[in-house]
Symmetry: C2
Amino acid sequence: MSDFQSYVERLGRRAREASRRVAVLSGQARREILRRIADSIRQGRGELLEANAKDVQSAEQAKLPVAMVERLKLNDKRIAAMADGVEQIAAQVDPVGQVIEGYIRPNGLRIQKVRVPIGVVLFFYESRPNVTSDAAALCLKSGNAIILRGGKEAFETNRAIVRMIHQALKSADEGLVDAVQLVESTDRALVPLILKQDRTIDLVIPRGGESLIRAVVADSTIPVLKHFTGNCHIYIDRDTRGMEQQVRQICVNAKTSYPGGGVCNAVEHLLFHREAAERLLKNVCEDLAAKGVEIHGDERTRVLYPDARAATDEDWDTEYLALVVGVKVVDSMEEAIGHINEHGSHHTDAILTDSKRSADEFAQRVDSASVMINASTRFADGGEYGLGAEIGISTDKLHARGPMGATDLTTSKWIVTGEGHCRG
Amino acid sequence: MSDFQSYVERLGRRAREASRRVAVLSGQARREILRRIADSIRQGRGELLEANAKDVQSAEQAKLPVAMVERLKLNDKRIAAMADGVEQIAAQVDPVGQVIEGYIRPNGLRIQKVRVPIGVVLFFYESRPNVTSDAAALCLKSGNAIILRGGKEAFETNRAIVRMIHQALKSADEGLVDAVQLVESTDRALVPLILKQDRTIDLVIPRGGESLIRAVVADSTIPVLKHFTGNCHIYIDRDTRGMEQQVRQICVNAKTSYPGGGVCNAVEHLLFHREAAERLLKNVCEDLAAKGVEIHGDERTRVLYPDARAATDEDWDTEYLALVVGVKVVDSMEEAIGHINEHGSHHTDAILTDSKRSADEFAQRVDSASVMINASTRFADGGEYGLGAEIGISTDKLHARGPMGATDLTTSKWIVTGEGHCRG
């Protein structure tokens, strides 16, 4: 325990020191480092595959779910995509130093609010190896240091990726190596200790299951930006005449386009306006069932589609993260909005409608990070929003909301310039 | 205890309901409500003075410090200033609905990131009555509801101010009254309970002493934006030839322009470059001493100004919040920046210099919410930055940093519009 204590203190202190060096690099220097990281990942292909094979073997021996093992696996294509991802982040506009506001006050004081790095980010995440390189690249792009705490199942792979990153950092400046550090133990006893390093770590981003996130929030004295998975809805409005194909396609896409449906922006519940239900509910349910989706319906749903299982009260608060969808018939958009704000997770919710007024009202009143109008909930994603990549999708309201890219890893600083100004 | 439990749940629930009503008001309607509040405060002058007299009497009986009683006192001028403050906030640009970013993706998806209200804000604060009306006005301006928890010493005054606000809200719409609520008990046992209402309250802003803020952070399951007071510095650079008057005036202004020096943006420590010390230290210390300021100096300071008391290690981490200043001689700007980042509170720090290079480097490397160049630290203030008013000065890095106005009381929402878009 006391070993862990000194270890996490050292991690934090080193990250803090390195963060001060990264923060003063020019945008060009940070871009060049990211390009070197991409090269280093490409050249380290053999080493990465070897390390990954160990993880995959352990995962298979531990009989982890097949889908999880699949996500964990690296191959030439995935390694190339990792390197390309880092280069895409390198090519983006530099957020550091941007002037958010600037003006001269009547007394002549010049006021500027500029974007600056946050400092040190602690990142908890699971399985997919590209998250390691994406997160490190986003933090370096925005002038921060990062401490990575990946899942146990990807430990050897993550170590190898961080070795590639270190080679690139070293080739630029030995003092930058600690800007990307991997927690070298997957022991859970370490977690509460690192979450108390509020003097050296500025922000915690936990991305994973609900229990992980709740544990982090409970233990942390560092501000936390939560990235919960989502209980997403699609509301099918009354005004959907002539939209039958669109409605059917979007509902199927939102539930099934990610294999197994286990992703935060997949739809979990469909709410049909009663008039739309008459026209569309049966067909939508049949399309979904044909894709292997299990339907849990309320009473009015089961009248129109008797094959649905009876939904319980619990259904409406459930994120299935599986090929299951809850279906409910509502009497009005008012009722749909109320249901979403009460039972949803404020992640991503969609309306399908031909009415401009309904679309506007839904977008205004649904209290979610992303509101989709006539589009699949699956678009809620940093890449799809053009952010290059994302460190996660914030379900918090403060600081960042929805997909988080490099800009959301910055804070601001007021720079006030006078000529001997004193306050009256 | 269980009475408090149901009370705080009701407070939160009512605020949440009211917040949904405020959020959909037009900017014009919110502006009109603020104007009515200003009128209501003006018309309620008699009632306000009467309530305030009770608080002042209790404060005098309890032998509170004279400065505190002074801050608490209302008079015609202060009431007029409160009403004017609300009108100034009304007249500001409306932050709600602003499009922060907007673009069309290659696949035709239209993406907008818009500013929306946060929801419900819980605000802890102390003594000065105008803070009550400012905070309520800033929250309404930004489409939020607020729960106010003021200091015990201003309880009657705050109740009266909230009565005035309620009259104005009622005259607009009975359903809006709960958008501004005062916690009707100053019992501390209630605090941990209200800090657990994370389903109905979105943000806690504690503004007050360090012990209050630490207690709030420890108990809260709601995100907290901390507003600590400041351990502010002025670094007097080597390149200050010909700036003697400026340096002397700014140092005196930064320490003494607020009566008693007990304000977060007052300077607490002066760091002189050794060459500047030779020229300026003695005069600056004499000017400060003439204003009644006690000087705590390091050894090199005491050589140049023997009247200084010897500073201890503890001095450098101390916010005196009084007419005391610590003075230290440093060998370089590097040393000054290191000292500020280690001992400061990241609130506001200033450099006095004629060197552009020094100014730029100091502004980049000092990790504080506000950096002043050739200006008094006392300018770190929402009003001075042109925000109309402030709900406080955030010493956090996330969400808001430095003086916080109405815009910082908003969050964002992504609104994504397609034409039947499915994700590939």
